[in-house]
């Protein structure tokens, strides 16, 4: 199979320009991509920093939440005790009242 087009060692300038421009476009595109990726790398690095700081803050948050929980628990117990005391006091008062009421009557009728 022989070429119908005679072999031409010279690349026609127009073609060359075309292919050159094509290659140049490709190269430009790749360069562009590389630039974007460079930016991306920078961004990702920054993002990594931010993520690290977030991790830090999340740890802090967990600690303070734990503290809040503990405090709330403590307050809950405290309140329960207070509640208990109040109830005891009320019961006591009622008993005293009852005693105060019942004893004179009993004495009166006795």
């Amino acid at each position: 199979m022989s070429s119908s087009v005679p072999y031409d060692p010279y690349i026609p300038p127009a073609e060359e320009e075309n292919s050159q421009s094509k290659a140049a476009a490709l190269k430009a595109e790749i360069d562009d991509t590389v630039g974007i990726m460079r930016d991306n790398i920078n961004k990702v690095a920054e993002r990594g920093e931010r993520l690290t700081s977030i991790e830090d803050k999340a740890d802090n948050l967990a600690v303070s939440a734990q503290g809040f929980k503990r405090g709330a628990n403590r307050v809950r117990k405290q309140m329960w005790w207070k509640d208990l005391k109040m109830k005891m006091c009320l019961v006591l008062v009622v008993i005293i009242l009852l005693v105060v009421i019942v004893v004179p009557i009993a004495v009166h009728f006795a």
């Binding site: 022989s2 993520l51 303070s64």
Partner: protein, 735 residues
């Protein structure tokens, strides 16, 4: 307090999470739904990242186990210590491990001669060469070095060294030195002078000395000029001979060849019996670089040998020894070797042998047969065959062919030297001396005739004195066309023939280079494509992992929002508690007249709060949706265009072939296939680069978006932390 213990009084335990959640839900506080199945599109990438991820651990030597233990405790189990880099490609490791770039591996895979000799330490020196230089094996020192190494094994023959050294045709200095040495040792001062002069001086000398040839056939030089146009890297032309040699290109060798040309032509002209042998060495010289060198050196060697009084045929054989182990088939052996080492070389040698019309025609067949088994396993052997075949037919003029046939016939009986000589000489002007010599040559080395390719060498070696004289005559009778042996027409014919032959061989050589370059291009495009695909895969993986992280970020955001809401609720409760925890005597009675308004205000507040929460939630979801849509878009586009490519390619086949027509010469099926592959690969690379760009853009946007979200998360976390702390302190203040 003993009483407490006695009464077993203690506050109830904390609620379990689920009960707590229920209670909160009853209270209308937003809670996390544990049963909610999140649809994670990129969950697989999370696993991928986890598998591929490696935690860096630094440990002093001897303490790695502790670090490893820590890590294992942390990870729970199975992170293998040798996790790979996320985007690592096998190519990278290849590059690191051995200096062969990936192109080399593939080229060797594709082109490497599997039938190679065992002695080849470097598997394929010629194929390796293009890696280190810019795919120009001829301008490459590495290649010559490898070549020398390979040759080193045969070093028992002193003549080997000459071709190897002369293979460093890049170095201007080596060449003349060896020429001088080889000839100087032989005592052929004239010869040396001639050659060295040729080597060291511009070709003007050629023109001067080779008057008849140059006057008639400026063709060879024209062809050189033509060859400059070929894709070979040629330095500026400048002085004819020197520049050729300087280039480190075959042109440099060509200059050397031209010296031989002139030598041979002088012989042929003076003796008159050697027009065709005179023509033959040209072909020998002209075929290929290293081969040319070899033939050069062979010439030299033979001459030296004869000066030592050794049988020229023996010397021929010895000189052929360096080529290979086959002592009888000098050039065959060499062609074998070349065939093993480089296909280009094999082809060149084949062309040589074929173009020499003397007894080597038989060898020709063998040589042509030889490279095929050697190269046969590679796909390109067929090219060589195909490419070589046409030149044979095209090159050989009728005369030559006839003479070759005659020699085929005549070689069988070695005693037919006279006939040979007669037939041998197309011009039929027979110098009796030469004839006799030739006869005796045949008589002496009849068996070795096939091995002796260069008849001109034989002549030269056979009667060195005469050759000297001829050279003298040639030197000093330069410019005189009529030497008394031939007519002008004959000379013209001869020159034309030579010229044509030379041109044909130039064409062959160029074809070799075209093919070699094409193969390199195919290999490099293949590698580029491979790397581009890997880059794309890496990019897609990165994007996928970003998508997974986006989902995780969304998760974090949701949880943060919940925390915010619940913290707000807790704040309310704390306030209430604080209010209630005042002295028991304090009366908390709100203004009964504004109770309605207060209620309304509270409801409004709750409503707005709820709306705010909704809005926030929507924003979060939007962020996730955007990022996942972005990533999916990039993915889908990639897949889409990948599918598209195969369809498009089918239609572009013919177009690509047409386009590549001008890069092709006597193209055959495989050539077309190569062109198509190059075109296809380039096309794919272009597409991939486009996709890569889009991927990069999507990645950039995604990273930007996540940056924003991360920033927001950071702020939220900070605020929440502060709020929680505030609540905690408020709680502690409650007594």
């Amino acid at each position: 307090m003993g009483l407490k213990k006695f009464l077993k009084l203690k506050p109830p335990d904390e609620d379990v999470v689920s009960i707590n959640r229920e209670k909160l839900n009853e209270l209308g506080v937003a809670i996390k739904n544990p049963n909610k199945k999140k649809r994670e599109k990129f969950a697989a990438y999370g696993v991928f990242a986890r598998d591929k991820g490696k935690e860096k651990i630094y440990a002093p030597p001897g303490y790695e186990q502790y670090a490893l233990k820590l890590q294992q405790e942390k990870d729970g189990a199975s992170t293998s210590a040798e996790g790979e880099d996320l985007n690592s490609s096998p190519l990278d490791s290849n590059d690191k491990s051995n200096n062969n770039s990936s192109s080399s591996t593939t080229t060797t895979n594709n082109i490497e001669n599997t039938g190679g000799r065992s002695g080849n330490s470097a598997s394929d020196p010629y194929m390796k060469a293009p890696n280190k230089s810019d795919f120009d094996p001829y301008a490459n020192n590495n290649y010559t070095n490898n070549y020398n190494e390979n040759r080193g094994g045969n070093s028992s023959n002193p003549y080997e060294k000459i071709p190897t050294s002369s293979n460093n045709f890049n170095n201007n200095n080596n060449k003349p030195k060896y020429d001088n040495r080889g000839r100087g040792a032989a005592g052929y001062n004239n010869f040396t002078d001639f050659n060295s002069g040729v080597n060291s001086e511009p070709v003007d000398r050629y023109y001067a000395t080779g008057g008849p040839s140059s006057s008639l056939g400026s063709g060879p030089y024209d062809s050189y000029e033509n060859n400059k146009m070929t894709p070979q890297p040629v330095n500026g032309d400048g002085q004819n001979g020197n520049t050729y040699r300087n280039n480190g290109n075959p042109y440099g060798v060509r200059a050397a060849r031209s010296t031989n040309d002139s030598n041979n032509s002088s012989v042929g002209r003076t003796t008159g019996a050697q027009p065709s042998p005179g023509g033959n060495p040209y072909s020998n010289m002209s075929t290929n670089d290293t081969v040319k060198n070899e033939s050069n050196t062979e010439h030299n060697n033979t001459s030296t040998n004869t000066s030592m009084g050794v049988n020229p045929y023996g010397t021929m054989n010895t000189s052929s020894d360096y080529g290979a182990k086959n002592t009888n088939n000098g050039i065959i052996g060499s062609s074998n070797e070349y065939g093993v080492e480089d296909q280009n070389k094999t082809t060149s040698t084949t062309t040589i042998s074929t173009s020499t019309p003397t007894g080597t025609t038989t060898t020709t067949t063998t040589t042509t047969a030889n490279p095929i088994p050697n190269v046969g396993s590679t796909g390109y052997s067929t090219y060589e065959e195909d490419l070589n075949a046409p030149p044979l037919s095209a090159i050989a003029t009728a005369q030559k062919q006839s003479s070759a046939q005659v020699f085929d016939d005549l070689n069988a009986p070695p005693g037919d030297g006279e006939e040979q000589a007669i037939n041998y000489d197309p011009s039929t002007t027979v110098a009796l001396e030469q004839d006799g010599e030739f006869q005796s040559n045949i008589g002496n080395g009849g068996d070795d005739l096939n091995g002796s390719i260069h008849d001109s060498q034989q002549y030269q070696s056979y009667d060195p004195n005469q050759n000297q004289n001829q050279d003298y005559g040639y030197d000093y009778q330069a410019g005189i066309n009529d030497t008394g042996y031939k007519t002008f027409e004959q000379l013209q014919e001869e020159e034309r023939q030579k010229q044509q032959q030379q041109e044909d061989e130039e064409v062959d050589e160029i074809k070799q280079q075209i093919r070699f370059t094409k193969q390199s291009s195919v290999a490099s495009t293949r590698n580029t494509l491979k790397m581009a695909q890997e880059a794309e895969m890496a990019g897609m993986n990165t994007l996928g992992m970003l998508g997974h992280q986006s989902e995780q970020l969304n998760n974090v955001e949701n949880n943060l929002m919940l925390m915010n809401v619940q913290n707000r609720e807790a704040e309310d409760k704390v306030k209430e508690l604080k209010k209630l925890n005042r002295s028991i005597l304090a009366v908390h009675v709100s203004n009964p007249f504004t109770s309605k308004r207060r209620l309304r205000e509270q409801e409004d507040r709750i409503k707005t709060q709820r709306m705010q929460d909704k809005l926030e939630q929507q924003q979060l979801n939007n962020g996730l949706y955007n990022s996942s849509r972005r990533i999916e878009g990039a993915f889908d586009e990639n897949v889409h265009s990948i599918n598209n490519a195969s369809v498009r390619e089918r239609y572009q086949r013919q177009e690509a072939l047409n386009r590549s027509k001008k890069y092709q010469f006597e193209n055959d099926e495989e050539d077309d296939e190569m062109e198509l592959e190059i075109d296809r690969n380039l096309d794919k690379i272009g597409q991939i680069s486009g996709r890569l760009r889009k991927l990069a853009l999507a990645t950039g946007q995604e990273v930007d978006g996540q940056q924003e979200r991360i920033k927001k998360i950071e702020e939220d976390t900070d605020n929440l932390d502060i709020n929680i702390h505030l609540n905690t302190t408020r709680l502690t203040n409650i007594r």
